[in-house]
């Protein structure tokens, strides 16, 4: 092979450039999202009442469908009381006035997973997100 060492050095530099972003990003690029549930509003509640409208597992998997249903029920049908299948408790159907009253940390709660999975829900084009204090 003519000029073999040049070719090999070239390949090494090429591979180095290719992998540089991974070295720099390190763990951050692959870290699993970790939505935070410790807002002041939730922490104020007694331990036993720290429950979402449905089980954590269900909400994790189906919250987008829940929100879709909630929107249709409230806007199109005028039905605004939701009874939880998990606890039987009743909630006002409202993104701004129910969901976000507890989950006042949109950045650490919503965006955490949405950024990771690269989805861009357009809720906040219209709905007003809670004011978050810069940390």
């Amino acid at each position: 092979m003519y000029d073999g060492w040049k070719i090999i050095i070239g390949i090494v530099i090429f591979l180095g450039l290719l992998t540089v972003p991974f070295f720099f990003a390190g763990e951050k690029a692959t870290a699993k999202p970790d939505p935070k549930l410790d807002t002041p509003e939730i922490m104020k509640l007694p331990e036993a009442e720290r429950k979402c409208v449905e089980s954590k597992d269900y909400m994790k998997r189906e919250h987008m469908k829940v929100l879709n249903d909630w929107r249709d029920w409230a806007v199109r049908d005028g039905n605004t009381i939701y009874t939880s299948a998990a606890t039987g408790e009743q909630y006002d159907i409202s993104l701004q006035n129910t969901c976000m009253k507890c989950h006042s940390n949109k950045k650490e709660f919503c965006d955490e997973c949405h950024n990771y999975t690269a989805v861009n829900p357009y809720c906040w084009d219209c709905h007003i997100e809670p004011k978050e204090e810069e940390i």
């Binding site: 449905e54 189906e62 469908k65 829940v66 249903d69 929107r71 029920w73 409230a74 806007v75 199109r76 049908d77 005028g78 039905n79 605004t80 009381i81 939701y82 009874t83 939880s84 299948a85 009743q90 159907i93 701004q96 006035n97 357009y122 084009d125 219209c126 709905h127 007003i128 809670p130």
Partner: protein
């Protein structure tokens, strides 16, 4: 191989059973929607068959009109835009001449012609905007409210062309920065959607009267037009009233009484 009739029927029946079983299994597995029965109407909600408003023009003056407009626009995060080509309005002032152009009162005093009135979406019984909406973003609720579902609006503005009252406004730009004081309990709109008065559906569903009616010091009366014992029906039964452009057959739900009276200050 020949299939006897008996065997054919057996296989066909079995296949049909399997098919039905499959459908019900599919339904069980499909966990998309939460139980619909889990949703209720708020017991406090006001219920009616056809909501309407009676505007007593003699009780309107510049101050009460401003109060009504401010109450509505503050409550619903309506931006303030001075340019009339871009302005957003849910309830606004209009002269008598422009509100009731079909009356053709030739010798009407200039004073009355130019007298300002309060106008808003008429929540028509036969709403042309609903007919033209291609996405059903505008629809008529069971209680007669002509509603907007902002999630579905694609900004085609057919409804604006259809509405004979100019009750609809288009968001030519992001309204957020132009809202003086945000009401955190109600959403804003985004660039590219049409908006209008929703007769305070969110307040009715929680048992409160519309914001303009509450702020009007009695100039606006709200009630069910289908209920013969309601206050609006009592007023309409005893007074002469007019509606905007009745000749178009849209059947508005907003009535005006005492129009052009000398009491107007």
């Amino acid at each position: 191989m020949r299939i006897k009739r008996r065997e054919f029927l057996k296989t066909a029946g079995g296949a049909a059973l399997l098919g039905f079983g499959g459908i019900s299994a599919f339904k069980v597995l499909e966990r998309g929607r939460a139980e619909a029965s889990a949703v209720l109407r708020d017991p406090k909600a006001l219920t009616g068959k056809r909501w309407g408003i009676v505007v007593d023009v003699s009780k309107l003056n510049v101050e009460t009109m401003k109060k009504c407009m401010d109450a509505c626009h503050r409550e619903h995060n309506v931006p303030f835009i001075e340019n009339p080509k871009e302005e957003i309005k849910w309830i606004w002032k209009e002269t008598f001449e422009h509100s009731f152009p079909e009356t053709e009162d030739k010798y009407l005093a200039e004073e009355i012609k130019h007298m300002p009135l309060l106008v808003l979406c008429n929540h028509c019984d036969n709403p042309p905007c609903v007919r033209v909406c291609p996405t059903k973003a505008t629809f008529k609720r069971k209680d007669g409210i002509v509603m907007m579902d902002m999630h579905r609006c694609i900004g085609c503005r057919f409804c604006m062309a259809a509405c004979p009252y100019g009750a609809r406004s288009f968001n030519w730009r992001d309204p957020r920065p132009l809202i003086k004081e945000e009401n955190k309990e109600f959403p804003t709109r985004m660039k590219g959607v049409v908006e209008k008065c929703t007769l305070c559906y969110e307040r009715l569903d929680k048992g409160r009267e519309p914001a303009c009616v509450e702020a009007s010091d009695g100039a606006l009366v709200f009630g069910d037009l289908e209920d013969p014992n309601s206050e609006v029906r009592k007023i309409l039964g005893s007074r002469y009233s007019i509606r905007r452009k009745p000749e178009l057959g849209t059947l508005p739900s907003v009535y005006y009484i005492n129009v052009g009276g000398i009491e107007y200050a």
